[in-house]
């Protein structure tokens, strides 16, 4: 069963902002809203790293947990989406998200921010697929056209990978083996859980052993 995930390879990202531009262009994201952005760590210092950040479509999404009107849902392929007709613009999701993904069209207090907007993994939203309503509210539904998110497909160095988790992990693994370094996965554990969390807990009797 496919599960859609993003992976940003920090060894390859050159901070070109092509992913940001592709997202803006394909989805006609309004001025002031950035569904995706590039963050540079240790900017200007030798060895700086850049990563492209957007909604990671978390396995256990905190935005879904805190939404007071339950406007979020997860599709069978693992994409976290929301119904803008239900959103009240409270901003709870923004505070809960570890990636700062939820965006609002206006500044201001509760009730003045407008409907929340975020990356949809180019999967549209709860409107008729490919309709004008869906495009106006959520942007292009590329998954329904058999395509993948524009940001990942547009990435010039293929630093940003987006697609089925198994395939994305295979591509990254092949790269790491080929180059022999750069195994770090920024945000992966936060969004999709740490590998050690899946391991069974140590037996209780072992705790007392010295």
């Amino acid at each position: 069963m496919a599960r859609m995930k993003f992976l940003c390879d920090a060894e390859r990202c050159i901070e070109c902002n092509g992913c940001v531009t592709a997202c803006k262009n394909v989805n006609e994201v309004p001025w002031g809203v950035n569904r995706r952005r590039v963050v540079t760590l240790n900017d200007g210092v030798p060895g700086e790293k850049s990563i492209s950040v957007a909604c990671m479509h978390c396995s256990d999404a905190p935005c879904m947990a805190v939404c007071p009107v339950d406007c979020f849902y997860k599709t069978p392929e693992g994409v976290v989406l929301h119904d803008k007709d239900l959103c009240i613009g409270c901003g709870y999701c923004f505070y809960a998200c570890p990636f700062g993904a939820p965006q609002f069209p206006q500044d201001g207090a509760f009730g003045l921010r407008g409907k929340m907007d975020k990356c949809t993994f180019c999967a549209g939203g709860p409107e008729k697929d490919g309709s004008a309503e869906e495009f106006a509210k959520y942007g292009q539904n590329r998954l329904a056209e058999g395509k993948l998110p524009a940001c990942a497909e547009m990435c010039s160095t293929k630093a940003l990978l987006g697609g089925d988790a198994d395939v994305v992990a295979d591509i990254f693994r092949e790269r790491v083996v080929a180059r022999g370094k750069g195994v770090e996965l920024w945000g992966w554990a936060t969004a999709y859980g740490k590998p050690e969390a899946a391991k069974p807990a140590a037996p209780a009797a072992a705790k007392g052993d010295k």
Partner: protein
């Protein structure tokens, strides 16, 4: 005459009061998605004439997933393209 007036008055009162009645109330269930249903991508027809999209069988999730996997490998793994040259 009085009886007819009474019937008319009762009918008018009933019509006016009907507007005060509750219409289908949506019961909010906390923790459950309350919005509109969405269509799964595999329920759409595959686009024709696009060599980068492997056609899938409409309504068949597995064939859509296979199409997406092929596109991910071919579009985002340059090692595959280098090997094929």
């Amino acid at each position: 005459m009085m009886r007819a007036r009474g019937i008319v008055a009762t009918a008018v009162a009933a019509a006016l009061l009907a507007a005060c009645g509750d219409k289908g109330v949506v019961v909010y269930k906390q923790g459950e998605y309350q919005g509109k249903p969405d269509t799964a991508p595999w329920n759409n027809a595959a686009p024709q004439g696009n060599p980068q999209v492997t056609p899938w069988q409409q309504g068949n999730r597995e064939s859509w997933e296979q199409s997406i996997k092929v596109r991910t490998q071919q579009g985002q793994n340059e090692y595959v393209r280098l090997k094929n040259k």
